[in-house]
């Protein structure tokens, strides 16, 4: 907040306006309020004191005048006459007159012994009976005192009869013509009579009131804010009452019996002093503080409202003024800030340039200066761009040159390498050609030996072929012979079978011959065993013959295969012979070619040496070329950096 505030001219200006406007306002208002407060407070107090004083005087004067009245009446001839005549009824017109004019409630006439001789108002009764002589005890007390002092007295307010309004009594002695106490004249004044004085609301405004309090703190008059009947019943012990009962007068603020903040003026009636009574009363005048000082509150409110209006006016003025000054400065500040960031494009508003004061001049100068600066930067930017593009073209050409030079260089080195390789190859070729011609000679020798070997092989194979043919013939012969053997075996088998039958028949014959034929039976048995043996033997022979036959046929097959193989071998040997012949021919040709290669290679090598030297010198030239191009590139690079820097500088600005 403070940062924001400290950065804003407008806020500062408005604040200063407010401070300048507010300080005198607050001082003036405060002083006015302060002084008015004391004046108003004093005024209210004075007014209240005056009221209290007035009421006090009225009450005292009332009592005083009634006292005088009493004394006058007690000393009047008329009364004395009537006393001496004992015509009490004749007093009535006079008494009634007094009661009506001076507001007494009743007038009593007591004898010098204190007996009730007469009362003006017969309506004072106890119940529905007429008042008896000593019914009101107060009267006895009064008469006793009068007889003792023979001085007029006033009693405090008292509830003299149940059901009656409280009242106070005034009594004065009545002397006879010859002197000496003759009777006592008593006036009864109702509390309501005094109440009318205190309740008089002249100058009391809304909440003002006056009341009386006795020394016993009981109220001696009705209160404005309480029900009637508090008289002699409600006790009030506010500080003001205490002060007043101590015979002090003054004014103070306090909380009264209603528990309300009030301004309270208090005083002692001074009855003891002024009327010689044995009692005294405090008189209190109160008014609610809020009402007493209402003027002050109103004044405060007015000051506050005026202040607020002034505040708004000042703020408005401040705002307008600061707007006039701060707006252009803000706008200028924003543009300069943008310039700081490189943006020159913001134009100064027209209405600010039109102003004729210093700010207008500043704005105009700023606008034209910015304009010139923009143009210069634009030109600078364009030039730098042109420069940059030219440089890049040059750079491209240089790099092309460089790359072509390097390519040339690398090509040259490749060519050189190749030439070297060719040289080596041709040397190798010469060596190989010599080797080939030597090999060819060896090969010729070997091929001749091969040819001889092939011929020998052929002869061997032919011999094998003849042998094979002989084997085949023998085998066929063997096969035929084995067949004859089989026939022989069959014949033998037949013979064996027949021998067997013969032996059986012999046995039969032997059996028929009985005992004589026994020997013959044995012979027959032997014949049979011979037959069996011969059969067994033929079987063995037959098995062997079978094996022989199988072996023979396998041999026949093998012989056939052997014959075929031998034929193939002959063919292969012939092919080998042919191949060796061709090989010899080829070898001879190779040998000749190798000799030619050797010769041409030697020529080639001298040519290659010359080529190599030429390549060397080209290479040197190319290297120099390359270095030159590199220097050129460096120079272009420097130039480009320069142009780039220039363009960067100009490109920072937005124009």
């Amino acid at each position: 907040m403070w940062r924001w505030f400290s950065k804003r001219i407008m806020a500062k200006l408005i604040t200063q306006f407010l401070i300048v406007g507010l300080i005198p306002l607050i001082l003036l208002g405060g002083m006015t309020y302060f002084y008015s407060q004391s004046a108003i407070e004093a005024e209210a107090s004075n007014q209240l004191s005056a009221v209290n004083e007035t009421k006090k005087e009225q009450v005292v004067e009332f009592l005083k005048s009634r006292m005088k009245n009493l004394i006058l009446l007690s000393r009047s001839q008329h009364i004395r006459n009537m006393l001496s005549n004992e015509t009490y009824q004749g007093m009535n017109p006079l008494f009634e007159y007094y009661m009506k004019v001076f507001g007494y409630s009743n007038i009593f006439m007591l004898s010098d012994k204190g007996e009730l001789l007469h009362q003006a108002d017969m309506s004072i009764q106890k119940g529905d009976k007429p008042l008896k002589k000593n019914e009101i005890s107060q009267l006895a007390v009064i008469s006793e005192q009068i007889r003792r002092t023979e001085e007029p007295i006033i009693t405090d307010m008292i509830n003299y009869l149940p059901g009656r309004e409280p009242g106070l009594f005034m009594a004065a002695p009545v002397y006879g013509d010859s002197g000496g106490l003759k009777a006592i004249l008593v006036f009864l004044i109702d509390a309501g009579r005094i109440n009318t004085i205190t309740q008089n609301r002249t100058g009391m405004r809304k909440t003002g009131e006056t009341y009386l309090v006795g020394e016993d703190h009981l109220m001696r008059s009705e209160a404005l804010f309480l029900e009637n009947g508090v008289l002699l019943k409600k006790k009030i012990r506010t500080p003001a009452v205490e002060q007043a009962l101590n015979s002090k007068a003054g004014i103070m603020e306090l909380k009264n019996y209603r528990d309300v903040e009030v301004l309270s003026a208090y005083d002692n009636l001074g009855l003891k002093k002024r009327l010689g009574t044995d009692f005294d009363w405090a008189i209190i005048s109160e008014i609610n503080s809020s009402e007493a000082f209402s003027l002050l509150h109103k004044l405060g409110g007015n000051i506050l409202w005026t202040g607020l209006v002034l505040l708004i006016l000042i703020a408005g003025m401040g705002y307008l003024q600061s707007k006039m000054i701060a707006r252009p400065i803000n706008s200028l500040s924003y543009r300069v800030m943008m310039m700081d960031e490189g943006d020159f494009t913001l134009a100064v508003p027209e209405h600010q340039k039109k102003r004729s004061d210093e700010i207008g001049m500043l704005m105009k100068a700023f606008a034209s200066g910015t304009q010139r600066f923009r143009q210069q930067i634009k030109q600078l930017g364009q030039s730098s761009r042109h420069l940059l593009s030219s440089i890049s073209q040059i750079s491209t050409t240089a790099s092309q040159l460089s790359s072509s030079a390097s390519e040339t260089s690398s090509s040259i080195s490749e060519v050189t390498t190749t030439v070297e390789e060719v040289k080596q190859t041709s040397q190798l070729a010469t060596e190989k050609a010599e080797h080939v011609s030597k090999s060819a000679e060896n090969t010729t020798k070997i091929s001749i030996a091969g040819k001889q070997a092939t011929e020998n092989t052929m002869a061997g194979i032919n011999r094998i072929k003849e042998e094979m043919t002989y084997i085949a013939e023998s085998t066929v012969k063997l096969s035929e012979q084995s067949k004859s053997i089989e026939e022989i075996i069959n014949t033998v088998t037949d013979i064996a079978d027949q021998s067997n039958i013969l032996s059986v028949n012999a046995s039969i014959e032997a059996a028929k011959a009985g005992e004589q034929g026994k020997g013959f039976a044995v012979v027959a048995q032997e014949v049979k065993s011979l037959a069996d043996q011969s059969k067994e033997a033929t079987n063995q022979v037959r098995a062997i013959l079978n094996d022989i036959q199988k072996a023979t046929s396998a041999a026949v097959m093998a012989t056939e295969r052997g014959t075929k193989t031998v034929e193939e071998a002959i063919e292969l040997a012939e092919q080998a012979g042919n191949a060796i012949d061709r090989l010899e021919l080829q070898v001879n040709e190779s040998s000749d070619a190798a000799s030619q290669i050797t010769a041409s290679n030697q020529q080639q090598q001298s040519g290659i040496d010359q080529l190599s030297e030429a390549m060397e010198s080209i290479n040197d030239a190319t290297q120099q070329n390359l270095e030159g191009v590199k220097q050129l590139e460096d120079a272009i690079k420097g130039l480009e950096d320069l142009a780039q820097t220039m363009r960067d500088i100009t490109s920072i600005y937005k124009v």
Binding site: D497, Q498, S503, V504, N505, S507, I508, Q525, K528
Partner: protein, 170 residues
Amino acid sequence: MPEKDILKARADMLAKPNQAAFEKHAIKTVGFLLADEIYAIELRFVREVLPLGPLTFIPGIPEYIPGVINVRGEIISVIDLKRLFELSADEQPDNPYVLILSDPKMAFGILADQILGVREISTDDLHPSLPTFTGSRADYLKGIDEAGNIVLDGNRLLKDENLVINQNNY
């Protein structure tokens, strides 16, 4: 007398069982093969054995008589026991043999696949016929020896009226 003892031992060693006792129960038989089974018949009923010559077929006679042969001028009828016993007759041997059976009243030949030779069999060792031997075969059976060879009763064969063919039978 050690020499005497040695001789005695030798005599014991070489001694043979009582032939006479054995012979009481022994019979001589001729063994022959019929459909891979070995049959035997008492030697005393066999007149001779000979390879089968040319058979002359006689029409109107039972199937088990394939025909008649001429034996040195005597006409002998031949019985095929394989057919008579209802044995498998699928294979006919290349050169069959004929056993001529004879008694004073009767003479006929029986075909045999092969002649095995003369053999002695103890009649004590003969077992009665097995339940598997059924049909006509059982009637001509003498017994079965320990080796499982079937011994035919030659007497019954020769005496059997069923085998005699005359016009009355038809």
